[in-house]
Symmetry: C2
Subunit: 385 residues, 2 copies
């Protein structure tokens, strides 16, 4: 039985998500927007029966059993943690900081019977499912190098907001880079142990952002990850390079290439290509018959298509269940967990640190929450001596 | 009047060069090979009247006024400097070390009336000539980012040799990366001030290189360059990223992209594409009607095609002259000088240093020859105290 859905957010992803949910048979019962006006406007447009700007009104809504959170990163932790506390299943976007991500992990561990996934749609894209399968089967031999690139138009909103602010989770690294960090670790079964990166903000002001306001979030980012792993066949020792550039209007370029001792696999947009060493050039391994005509402004096609596949997987997870809140793990086993979300956030922060220090930074995933009073305690300690 | 040419080298570039020279009307008078056997074999194949393994026999040959040196990097300096000393014009490949490059600069400065160019053919490729022109005209607006990538099959020779040895100038960075370092500074009119890089040797042994022998030269390399410049319109502050991977059999991928505030230019292989922000997608700015069927093993097509253009420029420089050794500067004004060669070598060494240190390294071009006895002097100094 499919649960009723409450959607948080009125941005481009939330707008795409609603029809996808309905297409799979979910009923969207409630919509939350940052302002009453934003919520009303989108609820009317999409015909959603209930709208509000009070998060509790959605979280406590009796017909809502699955909560989808696609809002600005600084608000995500609070709503996700509360939703789990109320006993609702959660699909959400990434948090703003590693500390937030850690709090989400704590909540998810506390309610293991509830669904809690970070909705990185790329993991569900058929091209990447096939790539992961082929990597495991040894198509490329021993993995050596991964190279990912996303080029596209500006990620900034029409008006000043969190997308402009590095500290609020804006910027190419946090928004798009994080999905690649997650994807690459998923594809390889390995995690970054050291990273090096460079962030730049080339466009600090534009027609909408001017006066004393300046963009602080990155529109260009280049980083490398050295992967560690647990043995042969995994991505241990692999170098990953990621290039992001959002000063390139036009269609998104979204390319992920993995190179190994015996061949390579390349996902271009939503299609997968492969080439074995000694073979006759590149072969199309997985096409996309739906074509590329569906490009939506602000959202790369692989994310849009992946979102559709993720919603299908959610349907599969819920539909055979008798109880509205129960779900089967199988169909969503490949999803990014909150633990993965914490890892990704840790990498993102390490890349930012590296961009400031100019040095390789190690990736150390938090194992306990930092004491918010630590600075105070240290100050007291110093005074005592 | 076209000068007689002496060619040093029996490798793939020398083999391609001879027919190109003849195509423009040059007479190839003498060929030098590392061994008598190699020299004889190629001289017979190409119908060159004189061959030798003694460098002086070519340098002192009365019919040779232009010397083209395409040999292993550690031998280049010695022959280039000697050729200038004998009064011959020189086109050569890069040296093995910055110290060698510095000695070549000293010689070139001493004989300013002689032609002395480092034959980076990419500068002469029509796609890059057009790209440079369009950059100067402001096609991309204010330059922000350059991104270059070359992927291809192994650069190793069939048998063990300098290509396997990092210290002898082997490896992707030294062989191909250096041509991109040179090209990017030429395109932008700016030089790297700081670099960061990572080199890897994934294939340490193969069918031909085994036993106690191991490859030490890189087959994978990526590096970033932060460019300095002398004002607006130049590439000051631009980030360049270069990715080289020679574990990818099949056709070479050779792509150079420059992104600016108003658009971008992309050279794919020998063709140039452009896209202006707000325009209708990508446009072909310069095609290559000769197609890509001429791919030669071991040599990327842009290098081959550029070599042809460079030989044409050499003809233009020499042909209107009455004296066999005089030449006009105009047609070869865009060539890479020995000074450029020293800069490139300095960047290559800084990238290698960065790969070892893990840190950004600054690029400081040598201004005087390091004292070979410096270590000795320091040791004596220490003993005295």
């Amino acid at each position: 039985m499919l649960p009723g859905v409450g959607v948080f957010g009125t941005g481009s992803t939330a707008r795409m998500l609603v029809p996808l949910l309905r297409g799979e048979g979910f009923e969207v019962r409630a919509l939350w927007g940052r302002s009453e006006e934003e919520a009303r406007s989108l609820a009317q447009e999409l015909g959603i029966p209930f709208h509000t700007s009070q998060s509790d009104d959605v979280l406590l809504h009796p017909d809502v059993d699955l909560v989808c959170i696609y809002i600005s990163p600084p608000l995500t932790r609070q709503i996700a943690v509360k939703a789990l506390g109320i006993g609702k299943n959660v699909v959400c976007e990434k948090a703003a900081t590693a500390v937030d991500a850690f709090k989400m992990v704590t909540a998810a561990r506390y309610y293991p019977q509830l669904l809690s996934i970070v909705g990185n749609a790329l993991r569900f894209l058929p091209a990447f499912i096939a790539m992961r399968q082929l990597l495991a089967e040894g198509y490329v031999g021993e993995l050596q190098v991964c190279d990912a690139r996303v080029y596209g138009p500006s990620l900034l909103d029409q008006s000043y907001g969190w997308t402009c602010e590095e500290l609020m989770g804006g910027g190419g690294l946090h928004t798009v880079g994080s999905t690649l960090v997650d994807l690459l670790s998923h594809l390889m079964g390995a995690r970054a142990i050291r990273v090096h990166g460079l962030l730049r903000t080339f466009v600090r002001q534009n027609g909408a952002i001017r006066g004393i306001r300046r963009v602080t979030s990155d529109d260009f980012c280049f980083f490398q990850m050295l992967m560690g792993g647990s043995g042969p066949g995994t991505g241990s020792g692999v170098c990953c390079t990621v290039t992001l550039n959002f000063n390139m209007p036009g269609a998104f370029v979204h390319e992920v290439m993995v190179v190994g001792s015996a061949g390579r696999l390349i996902a271009r947009g939503t299609e997968l290509y492969g080439q074995r060493n000694g073979g006759n050039g590149e072969e199309l391994l997985l096409g996309d018959s739906e074509g590329t005509g569906q490009e939506v402004k602000d959202v790369p096609l692989p994310h849009l298509r992946g979102l559709g596949s993720m919603v299908k997987a959610l349907k599969d997870a819920f539909q055979a269940q008798e109880e509205r809140r129960s779900w089967a793990r199988g169909p969503v086993a490949m999803a990014s967990t909150f633990e993965d979300g914490l890892y990704v956030q840790t990498v993102v922060e390490a890349v930012k640190r590296s961009s400031r220090s100019g040095e390789w930074e190690s990736v150390e995933v938090m194992t306990q929450e930092p004491d918010p009073n630590q600075n105070l305690c240290e100050a007291l300690q110093r005074n005592k001596n």
